[in-house]
């Protein structure tokens, strides 16, 4: 406001100063008035000078004041600007700190692969997975066997697994379903299937201890979730089931070579160790070498070709009936069909049969997967030393079995030893129907002829079984699968009169229709 007043004030002063010169009085030249006029002029001049000085003073003052005000404002603005910048920077740092803290927080994931907790650095991981399989078995032309047509909870397993301190893995798998093939009532009791600790020094060098699958059979080592059929083939009848032991294992060169070798309590063919005790005082050695020579090459057609062999060796220093699949003919599984019915037992007419001496197995094996096509094959020799407790006769029985199974994914997805994932999960509203796969299998099991009649009754136990099966698998999504399959098993030998197994089983070819609904997460 002051600056606006300066110019009018000055104009007024100039107007006042100039007034005498503009007036008519100033134009008169009379002598009488000269002195008075001169005095007036002088007075006016002085007044003008005084006013001028005042104006100058005011101007100086005015000029001095605004900069002072501007500097103060600038400082205030700068101070405020600094405060704003500081606040922004503090906020920025807080956000960084929050992001850093978030990275240090445990991670939780829930999805098709289960439920997983993990520490921020992934050194500690805990996962919950599960498998539920609801099966039906419908036997044809078997009126002579009551109760084998059934709907059953084949597997119901919560799977707890994880890692501690980065290098130590663990797995704990209890079974709440119908645990044992050809199960007796006792087998439905919940039990621990897998419980082990695995130390990973590197992928190539790992040590595992606890209860788990021994490294022998290819089909047996495949996860239950990925099996082509409801039940494993006759070849697995000669493979040791889950056992307690220590195993050194690893994958070399990115999985081109996989090896495993361990020492175990030792179990009979198609048996699993259900207690913490050994069936014999001596240990069993199991091992397996598997090679996928083209796995890391660019030859896509051969990348999933795998060949190998598994085997075991053990001795019984004392005879022990528990080391054999069956000694009484009926309560344990023995050698069983696809329908999980016993067709062979160590059931001589006189005495019992006990393991005696060496028991070794050898299993050449391989698979090939390419695109939607998959093929898996396995041959097993199980050489079992036995003794008849009544006659004291001994023998080495060389039982053999083999299988070959194949499949084709009709909807084109790639399949592997570790299953398949549907490209378009089931969603009928959008026209997606999951993945469909047809599968087929042929298998045989041949019991050593020397088993009869000293170690098994030829009238009731079959000396051989041949089984073929076809099936259709529907993968609704990664977690849900529906199976339907038909299996036919024929027998050589056996078939004698009797309502109990194995006679009742071997009297006719077994024909069974399976279904399954499976949840895996």
């Amino acid at each position: 406001m002051k600056s606006k007043n300066i110019i009018p004030n000055r104009l007024i002063i100039l107007a006042i100063a100039g007034l005498p010169f503009a007036s008519p009085l100033f134009a008169d030249d009379g002598a009488a008035t000269n002195a008075t006029e001169a005095a007036e002029i002088q007075a006016l001049k002085q007044e003008i000078q005084a006013l001028d000085q005042k104006v100058e003073a005011l101007e100086q003052r005015h000029e001095a004041e605004p900069p002072a005000t501007t500097n103060a404002s600038t400082e205030q603005v700068q101070a405020l600007d600094q405060k704003v910048r500081v606040l922004e920077r503090l906020r920025e740092n807080d956000q960084d700190a929050a992001a850093t803290a978030a990275r240090a927080q445990p991670k939780i994931s829930l999805g098709a692969s289960g439920f997983t907790f993990s520490s921020a650095d992934s050194n500690f991981v805990a996962s919950l997975h599960g498998t539920v399989q609801v099966d039906s078995r419908t036997f044809q032309n078997d009126d002579h066997i009551q109760g084998n047509d059934s709907i059953l909870l084949r597997r119901a397993r919560p799977i707890f697994s994880g890692t501690v301190y980065h290098d130590f893995d663990f797995m704990f798998v209890p079974e709440f379903g119908n645990a044992t093939p050809g199960a007796s009532s006792a087998a439905t009791t919940p039990s621990i299937y897998d419980a082990y600790i695995n130390y990973r020094y590197s992928p190539a060098l790992q040590l595992q201890a606890g209860r788990f699958k021994p490294p022998v059979g290819l089909e047996y080592l495949q996860s239950d979730s990925y099996l082509s059929f409801n039940e494993r083939s006759l070849a697995t009848d000669l493979i040791p089931g889950r056992d307690l032991g220590f195993e050194l294992h690893g994958d070399i060169a990115g999985g081109v070579v996989s090896y495993a070798a361990g020492i175990f309590n030792g179990v009979g063919d198609n048996q699993r160790n259900t207690t913490d005790t050994a069936f014999q005082d001596n240990r069993e050695f199991d091992g397996r070498l598997f090679v996928q020579p083209f796995k890391t090459t660019s030859l896509t057609g051969l990348q999933n070709l795998g060949l190998g062999a598994g085997g075991s060796w053990g001795t019984s220093s004392i005879t022990n009936t528990l080391d054999l699949p069956n000694t009484t003919g009926g309560t344990l599984s023995g050698f069983v069909t696809d329908g999980q019915q016993q067709f062979f037992a160590y059931n001589p007419l006189a005495g019992g049969v006990m393991a005696h001496g060496t028991h070794w197995r050898l299993s050449p094996q391989g698979y090939y997967y390419y695109g939607p096509f998959g093929l898996l094959g396995e041959y097993v020799i199980s050489d079992q030393g036995v003794e008849n407790s009544a006659t004291r006769r001994t023998a080495d029985l060389k039982n053999t079995a083999w299988e070959i199974s194949g499949g084709w994914v009709l909807t084109g997805e790639d399949v592997s030893y570790n299953g398949l994932t549907p490209r378009h999960p089931f969603d009928p509203r959008n026209g997606n129907w999951g993945a469909w796969q047809v599968v087929a299998r042929y298998a045989e099991l041949n019991v050593d002829d020397n088993a009869f009649p000293v170690f098994s009754n030829p009238a009731t136990s079959a000396s051989a079984a041949q089984a073929w099966a076809v099936g259709l698998n529907w993968y609704l999504n990664k977690n849900i699968r529906v199976n339907a399959s038909f299996s036919r098993t024929t027998f050589t030998g056996g078939g004698g009169a009797g309502a109990s197994v194995p006679a009742a089983v071997t009297q006719h070819a077994e024909e069974v229709f399976f279904t399954r609904i499976q949840l895996v997460f």
Partner: protein
Amino acid sequence: MKTFLKILLASTLAISASAKEIKLLNVSYDPTRELYQDYNAAFAKYWKTKTGDDVTVSQSHGGSGKQALSVINGLEADVVTLALAYDVDAISQQAKLLPADWQTRLPNNSTPYTSTIVFLVRKGNPKNIKDWDDVVKPGVTVVVPNPKTSGGARWAYLAAYAYALETSGHDDAKAKDFITKLYKNVPVLDSGARGSTVTFAQRGIGDVLLAWENEAHLVLKEFGADQFEIVTPPLSILAEPPVAVVDKIAKKHGTTEVAAAYLDYLYSDEGQEIAAKNFYRPRNAAIAEKYAANFTQLKLVTVDQEFGGWQKAQKTHFADGGVFDQIYAP
């Protein structure tokens, strides 16, 4: 048959003589990014010429204290090049990854280059900051990182404290009062030196940045001398950033030999030149002389002289409940 054997032998020799690819991880503190970017390239070239092997050095940077903690918690560093010996001691003591006498394994207490703390001010030095007394004046805004997490910040803190001790006849109460005034002028504590540089140079906060000498020169180089200027106080601290092979990790990785050579080469003429070019004060006298124009002479006190060594300094000033916790209120 002989031809076949010759071919087989030649193939075997060729395979065994083929170049190895070696990877190293150097866990370092905040402002060494540019130094090691240059140095790693030079070392790779040197090692290739010497052995035929390819070596790739990866870098990890952050506040020195935080970096040491990362190594203790499992970051697999083949070598550490941290801001102060205390942080390497922590790795030795808490994780047992290298022996306690690690500092004796290389010349000059395993410190191939040194530095100091200087003032970076805005062009024209509007607050007329010349010495430490100017930094603690009311109305002067100071930018410096957090001494709890940053090695550079600990050096800056001790430089200021040493000045206060020197000018007060070693009156600890007066020094504490001085340092209290200093941190009253600090509005933002970044976790590392590079963060404080961002605060000062990019975000435009503060009148003075208490900076590593090399970091201050880097700011001039990056932002231009028309925006900032370096003020070297008459007294500051001799900062000795040490280097060490992390024995157990290097052994696990099979890199012990190359890791040791990597640090040895820092003392070579080329290593010292690279340090000097990146405004670290070289140990080599001839190279120090060559680059003397880059480094203003000043009185440099040491941690051992003024504070009785790093262990004592850490315990007194930076440990929980120490002087810094007593005097600093955010």
